[in-house]
Subunit: 472 residues, 2 copies
């Protein structure tokens, strides 16, 4: 059996703002020491496969590669890069087409969303093995979650009677309203739809041909016009956009008759909101989850997490069931019961064009990261990190000069036609309009403090003359 | 009549942490555009006096001078600098002795704590004029506040019956417990003691001689051993410390029979807690007081204020009656009803030796300010401001080199025996162990970005060779 992990790394995670942002979405959030994306990939590897297919937005390629490179044992990976957001239907159709071509029509795909939390990998693997076996018998397998309440955030799966063993699915239903969800629970006939699936490439292609021929046709056309280079497949934005924006549930699962549910015999969370994040952490005696330096007085059930440029202490006094998330450019204070309404904050900020919905406090680039520490009229201070072996583009600026101080690692600094080896404590000056390039020639991360001076300091004042990452 | 404003600038304002700190206490907090201290001084000036006596801790001299210099019309000022914290008894005894000697025994002192809020200056002046007239008849005048509730944070003043006109005081009582405060209110015989007083120097000296002869004697001894230089009187720490640590209420007011209360016919707050700060700001339709960029959803009665190195947005969702105070190194989230318990947070942090109880995010020095923007192993980034005409000490460091970039204003940088005029966008390098000095030779504030590099970056690695402020 050829097993392939298919990791779907989509969703913005708006409800986890300000930790999750458009350019740094939920899969990249750390929970329990590693990112949710890394956990999904390792979960796939634990099932015994070393083949990984990642479907993600093209803007997140470098961030995703960074996560994979930092794994103890990185799997063989191929990337299908979405030029724009589509739903799970097109993503799974493309995955099935790709796997059928590369790994054969009998290859078994385990579809894993990149933003789920499953603490017990061993229990997951047991279920996945069972699912793979059933998938090889021509079934479309879905992992069902035993509901803990009438949640309206999930689709539901109806069976004859919940028996906690794999069984035929009678019906997929979309996210219900509360009374409907309550009535479902009362019957004892429903699972939650986890969004995790298992099937052979051929079974899915057959199902698509029967139930969603238009989606399958559009996926084939998108793949035909795509360009594969090494581990990366890039799509033509127009052809890709012609695919219908539909979920795999709607395209296939609701209509197919060969669907089997394997009940999840493991703890599971889609980490869909701040209370769910809190639940994923161990509580103290007062039900608090503090991922920060917190001094608390008469505080109960409160979640605090902090990401800051320097040491920061948080004091909570006389509060209950709050979520406090502090970042350098945005602070959230919410009651857990209102956590779903964070979306409207993000909508408001997006309407204002506020950066905190787009960019994380540390902006990730293919070569490393930068964070703005201070900006006032006439100057801006940045902390820049560069990964070993990486280089920024050869560039110049029309309106700003830059002062560089290396504070960690070993840099090669090109200024005009000259190159300077630059060590921690050493300084280089980049005049206005002078071409320059920063490279990390050491084996450790390079950290540089940059003081930009000029009347205009926008990120768009950059002329790229050459770039390793195709941005020139 | 010679009228003198006596501004008592003491109190730490622990309950206003993290905005108020030991090195940046409550009088320096801004409320409604200017500091409480500036407001107290202007209140005194509005009464028609141009003589100001400030009694404050010697550590706060430069900060206090900065406030006075920035006034539109700075008054003639003398400073009595306390080497260590004493109570209002010694402060007022020293003020009376000083004024009797300098302005004559008949000079009238208006004693104003530096951390009160009185929005209506005109109404205050009318009361102060009345008080000054009564003071000239040999009375010790106290400003009484009509109680709005059984507050246990104030001392109370008993009269025959509250008539809302000046009248004889029967009794001063210390801060009561709640049942006692309630019983006081029920009688209609009590004012709150505002801590604002008015008397002639001679009346107070006579009262001290009669009721607190030991305190008067100690104050005379402290003054005798003091050193006056220009506008500043400094005390010998030992002699100063021999004064009893007692309030003027306990030393004199509770015992004297010539005490008159003038009822305050003006709004007044001692801004003693975060809810009081919130009350001092205009509310929005939901009772919120936002001194920050706030996006709120279903938020009521909540106070938010932010002091940050860069732009920062705060989102509040589904919360009620909270206080949120964010600073670069400390964040407070408290329920208004628990605001008194912030003191225990500060106690905990003090026990840990946490800087956020001592130093503000921007540290004030006689020459200007500095703020640490980022600190990691091997380097530290500071933003330094220098006032026009001021200089840092001539100094060197054993273990760190410094990279300086001027980003605003005009600097003179001494390095070794050389001096360099340095403009915005220009850079200077200070090697380890090299003597150096930074001066502002322009007419605007100088702003400098400093990147320190070295294995040890503590503030104590400084050897001062010469200093304008007597710190060498």
């Amino acid at each position: 059996m050829k097993l392939v992990s298919v990791v779907l790394s989509g969703g913005a995670g708006t409800r986890l703002w300000p930790a999750s942002r458009q350019a740094f979405p939920k899969p990249f959030m750390k929970l329990g020491g590693s990112t949710l994306l890394a956990q999904a990939i390792c979960r796939g590897q634990a099932c015994g496969t070393d083949e990984l297919l990642v479907i993600t937005n093209q803007d997140h390629l470098f961030l995703t590669k960074g996560v994979i490179e930092n794994l103890a044992d990185p799997p063989r990976t191929h990337f299908l890069l979405e030029p724009n957001g589509r739903n799970t239907g097109p993503a799974i159709a493309l995955a099935a087409l790709h796997c059928a071509a590369v790994h054969g029509p009998d290859s078994v795909l385990v579809v894993l969303p990149a933003d789920h939390l499953i603490p017990d990998t061993e229990a997951f693997v047991a279920c996945a093995n069972e699912a793979a076996e059933i998938a090889q018998r021509g079934q479309l397998v879905v992992f069902g979650i035993l509901p803990t309440g009438p949640d309206t955030g999930f689709g539901y799966i109806e069976v004859e009677h919940v028996v906690r063993e794999s069984q035929a699915v009678l019906r997929f239903v979309e996210k219900p309203d509360l009374p409907t969800a309550q009535s479902y629970l009362a019957t004892g006939r429903y699972y939650w739809n986890s969004g995790m699936f298992c099937f052979t490439a051929q079974t899915m292609l057959d199902a698509l041909a029967e139930h969603a021929p238009r989606a399958l046709h559009a996926a084939k056309a998108a793949l035909k016009s795509s360009k594969a280079a090494g581990e990366v497949t890039r799509f033509d934005a127009h052809e890709f956009g012609l695919q219908p924006d539909i979920s795999i549930d709607y395209a296939v699962m609701e209509k197919a008759r060969n669907v089997t549910v394997v009940p999840a015999r493991f703890g599971w969370s889609d980490v869909g909101s701040w209370p769910a994040v809190a639940q994923a952490h161990p509580e103290d005696a007062s039900g608090n989850t503090f991922i920060a330096d917190v001094v608390s007085v008469e505080t109960q059930g409160t979640h605090v997490q902090v990401e800051s440029h320097g040491p920061k202490v948080v004091a909570t006094v006389g509060v209950k069931d709050l979520v406090v998330v502090d970042t350098p450019d945005a602070l959230l204070v919410a009651h857990k019961s209102a956590a779903q309404k964070i979306k409207s904050v993000v909508d408001t900020l997006k309407a204002r064009g506020h950066e905190s919905t787009q960019l994380p406090a540390a902006v990730h680039r293919p070569w490393g990261t930068y964070a703005t520490l201070k900006e006032e009229a006439g100057y801006k201070i940045k902390r820049i990190t560069v990964k070993p072996g990486e280089s920024l583009s050869l560039q110049y600026h029309h309106q700003r000069a830059e002062h560089w101080v290396v504070v960690q690692g070993l840099a090669l600094v090109q200024i005009g036609e000259n190159e300077f080896r630059t060590e921690p404590g050493q300084y280089r000056y980049i005049p206005v309009k002078e071409k320059h390039r920063l490279s990390n020639i050491g084996s450790d991360e390079l950290v540089l403090v940059e003081v930009q001076c000029g009347a205009y300091l926008g990120e768009d004042d950059i002329v790229r003359l050459a770039d390793t990452y195709g941005r020139a």
